[in-house]
Symmetry: C2
Subunit: 319 residues, 2 copies
Amino acid sequence: MSNLTPDKRSIEEAAIRIAPWIHRTPVLTCAAINEITGGNLFFKCENFQKAGAFKSRGATNAVFQLDDETLRRGVATHSSGNHAAALSLAAKRKGTRAYVVMPENSSKIKISAVESYGGIVTFCKPTLEAREETLAEVIRKTGACEIHPYNDLRIIAGQATAALEMIQDIPEITQLIAPVGGGGLLSGTALAAEYFGTNIRVIAAEPLGAADAWQSFTSGAFVPSVNPQTIADGLRTSLGSVTFPIIRKFVDDIVTVSEDSIVHAMRLIWERMKIIVEPSSAVPLAAILEDKINVREVSTGIILSGGNVDLDHLPFNPS
Amino acid sequence: MSNLTPDKRSIEEAAIRIAPWIHRTPVLTCAAINEITGGNLFFKCENFQKAGAFKSRGATNAVFQLDDETLRRGVATHSSGNHAAALSLAAKRKGTRAYVVMPENSSKIKISAVESYGGIVTFCKPTLEAREETLAEVIRKTGACEIHPYNDLRIIAGQATAALEMIQDIPEITQLIAPVGGGGLLSGTALAAEYFGTNIRVIAAEPLGAADAWQSFTSGAFVPSVNPQTIADGLRTSLGSVTFPIIRKFVDDIVTVSEDSIVHAMRLIWERMKIIVEPSSAVPLAAILEDKINVREVSTGIILSGGNVDLDHLPFNPS
């Protein structure tokens, strides 16, 4: 095992480390969606997780490993989304500060989530260059420790605990589906299946409008995410140098789905399961509805990655 | 005990009778809402119930007591809402038909819910007279057995099982809040508290724009619901001759809330708990947010009555 892959023990330790600070989220089933898909689907509800997404697992696992001297200087990241809120909450709990660089066009709701957890926001232009430069400047000034949203062994080990819990709670699962953006959740899911499951097939679902992970996986060579066009705002990022090799080695397949399917799947989850999920969470079910993944005669676990949506801007069209 | 009040045993029997057909719904808590309200709140998630509302409890309890001869002729009701869907589903499970009289202006989503469970819909003008006349006509033609949505001992005993489960699952609860429309859920909740709890205070919350139950309770004389104006579409009906006396005797207080509070509370539940509830479900939390109910230094159970909303017509205003 490469030392750039979290080992079994690091995931077990992550589970113990974060347990007091995160929810062991429920696994829900839905008779209506099983009927529609012909599957036996189990949904791991990370939309109910602290700060509204699985990101609290990795962020907590990373921050709670830092030594006192590092903690004193705070942590930092650039993110427009759930990692920023999760990192802010984890830092707050450790009595330190999170410095978060956010694009100036971030939604009000995401900015206020970060601020509500005590995150210190620095705005920048909405380009990757501006984000990285601004973050470097913040770190230079503060001495804060950067916690990358996914290209980090501690983050991946933390995200792996969602699938670990699911495998413990529903031992009959033989197939796991996760959405893929930067690949932190997917890497962790695949490693949990490898270490803690028995012959579990791991499949990723990705929006066709941001299909860089599919392209990378299929071609075997890293393809960056350039100008991604998808409503699934958690899935617009590129794979990382740590996540891509893990995904190549441990993931069985990546499939892509249309934007219409994502909205349709999201609506189905809202209407039938009565739970709120963000578009990224609906991507695995979209792949099932598009018949890209066979769910017949197997028990399939799906990770609902998060539930942070802006209720003022929902994608449902009046019918 | 009057023979117009379900006794303890009838509620225990209802719980056993309906158990195979309904969900024992989870009880959720929310740290953020506890912080906002200063309370220790437990939410009984009947929005996750079969057919999306607590109504499945009463309808199942009623239909599953009918003898074969009665079942052969089917069941009937007039309803524009959740009782119609719940009755249709219960009838389908007993291999019989539900005849449902619905106002012609019922929402498409509610009509299709009833039809999806095999209910046979007859439309009528949207007045109480038209509903009752059309129902009488349907019953004359079919011989079907009327199952009233709330003014029925079997229905009340069924609805009581929601509070019974909550008292079993969270023994520390000393206060229960339910919304009130026709009073079936409220009557059942109050009886469950009386029979199975120890000194549990029962409070009802009602929209100010449909405050007939509050008026009836306060004046001691039945006041019908005339031209109710509220977004909480499950709470527009009048109390019944069975429910009102139970409520007078066993309910401690009824409080009223504004429409703005209902929408605000509903949004809070969606955003913070990541679950979908209908406006009626948000009325108890609205009462807490309006400081009409003291939740400090007690553990309070709230019944989230249902989750059937039309996603094309949500009440949230862009901020």
